[in-house]
Symmetry: C2
Subunit: 161 residues, 2 copies
């Protein structure tokens, strides 16, 4: 964990950026920062879903994308994510894919639920799809054609990520 005196700065910057873009109607009240393994703040972002016309532009996603650009790699091993709210499943997935293993969060999923966001529902869907069966219609098709691609990949020299 980076020096704890740096965490308040990162959280303060995340809150300030969230407030700025929220008040400009660019997205929800969410901010995030990434600290590198030395505890330096390398990315501060906020939710810009409305401004960017991009459902994936959550604060944590934007911060992970920015940190990857700064470090020149998708692999953020050793970094810490500071976020104003517990990550939704999309952002939690991104955190794991990026190899971040430490998260400091402010609000809880039910706090986000209380102001109208669907984080809790998406967790419920993933844990118990039968509770929201009408949410998604999924159909498996062309598996053989897609498996051919996997076989080609498996046979080549590749970078695992």
């Amino acid at each position: 964990m980076p020096d704890s005196h740096l965490i308040p700065d990162a959280m303060r910057l995340a809150i300030e950026e969230a407030r700025r873009t929220m008040n400009a109607d660019q997205g929800g009240p969410f901010g995030a920062a990434v600290l590198d393994q030395n505890g330096s703040i390398i990315a501060v972002s906020s939710n810009t879903v409305l401004k960017d016309h991009d459902a994936t532009a959550h604060a944590e996603m934007n911060a992970i994308r920015k940190a990857g650009a700064v470090l020149g790699t998708h692999d953020l091993s050793g970094c810490t994510l500071v976020t104003t709210a517990y990550p939704c499943p999309m952002c939690l997935g991104a955190i794991i894919w990026s190899n971040i293993t430490k998260i400091i969060y402010g609000c809880r999923p039910d706090d986000a639920d209380a102001i109208g966001f669907r984080d809790d529902m998406i967790y419920t869907y993933i844990r118990h799809p039968e509770d929201h069966a009408s949410l998604l219609e999924t159909k498996e098709q062309y598996r053989d054609e897609c498996l051919s691609l996997f076989v080609e990949y498996d046979r080549k020299n590749k970078t695992i990520y």
Copy 2:
């Protein structure tokens, strides 16, 4: 569901794009396409995690971001996602946030697991965090400061997404 004769085109284009970027070492063997509510293909993308230094650049994420840019909104209600493999939790979250409700997929999560990807593990973590407790260290801090932001948001005129 769009006219089914369009699905093979979308899947074929997704496979071709995945093969192209996979062979250029830009990312894994994954492609995706978004069809609008009339069944027209409005976005085709593939996994570009390695090229973009971006852990979030999965095929479905890239396709959702592109479709949002094409339509000028984060809201992809009525659209269908075609993907060469069942979405990981990050991509599934993005699909739900974007209001897509129909998914056609090729390979299964355990097919991706068999060639070295962690989709299955991330699903397991979300469903049973205790099975991978060492994966993430999470700590709640500064909740009061972050809740203030939620209260400000809740009191303002806002667009729910």
